[in-house]
């Protein structure tokens, strides 16, 4: 399974004040807060870790049907600015993050080898929602494939395996 999450940095700057008192405490573990404080660019680290949590939560939500707001239980193990793992209540997900000047994008997968199989869908892809969860319809004869959609500000990404 896969998930993905995009942060439009310009919009994040406008919408969120991560320096707000207690903001980081509600979202990030002590170790994650240490990564942010020690980082040369704390803002990028905040959204890098946040997009990992969101991307991993999307898989967790699909797998378990559990919906909730528990960012602090979604724990990032940071390997590099690109790679890491995220654990949620005993489940482990692998993450790959791309950072550019304007955005941060994280893809999460349940198996590392899936990173080589990610397909980015264009606007022509036919996507239907079943119980609020998006699926790709390739043709009449094949089963609907799970899709992960992320949209924030100027950016939208739709991926499948």
């Amino acid at each position: 399974m896969i998930g993905n999450d995009i942060v439009d940095l310009a919009l994040a700057r406008k919408e969120s004040n991560w320096k707000r008192n207690r903001f980081l405490d509600k979202i990030f573990t002590k170790e994650e807060q240490w990564l942010i404080t020690e980082s040369g660019n704390p803002e990028i680290m905040v959204w890098n870790l946040w997009s990992r949590k969101e991307a991993a939560y999307k898989i967790y939500n699909r797998q378990t049907g559990i919906r909730g707001y528990f960012p602090i239980q979604i724990v990032c193990l940071y390997e590099s600015s690109t790679f890491g793992t995220v654990s949620i209540n005993g489940n482990t997900y692998y993450t790959q993050t791309t950072i550019s000047k304007d955005m941060i994008h994280t893809i999460s997968v349940t198996k590392r080898e899936y990173f080589n199989r990610i397909k980015f869908l264009n606007h022509k892809a036919v996507i239907v929602k079943i119980n609020g969860i998006p699926f790709l319809i390739e043709n009449q004869n094949t089963a609907a494939k799970p899709v992960s959609i992320s949209h924030h500000g100027r950016f939208c990404e739709r991926i499948t395996l």
């Binding site: 994040a12 969120s16 004040n17 207690r22 509600k26 909730g68 707001y69 528990f70 239980q73």
Partner: protein, 84 residues
Amino acid sequence: MNKQETIEKLKVIVKPYIKDQEAFDTLTEDTDFINNLKINSANLVDVILDIEEEFNIEIDNPSMERMLDVKSAVEIIETKLAEK
């Protein structure tokens, strides 16, 4: 404070973060912060911090976990106020 007053205060708090005005105008107890009001998930923490400041309560992690719709938010606020 009765439930309706709590909802009114809550409406003032969430207003800056909503992305769906129609869902906000027709807000009920069943309104979902993310699915209906389209509040960005990173802004949900701002809603929680604003609630803590406005009502002078502390929203612990188990409460925060359920903070997804108006009904749960009102329940949590009322419980925390009663504990004071």
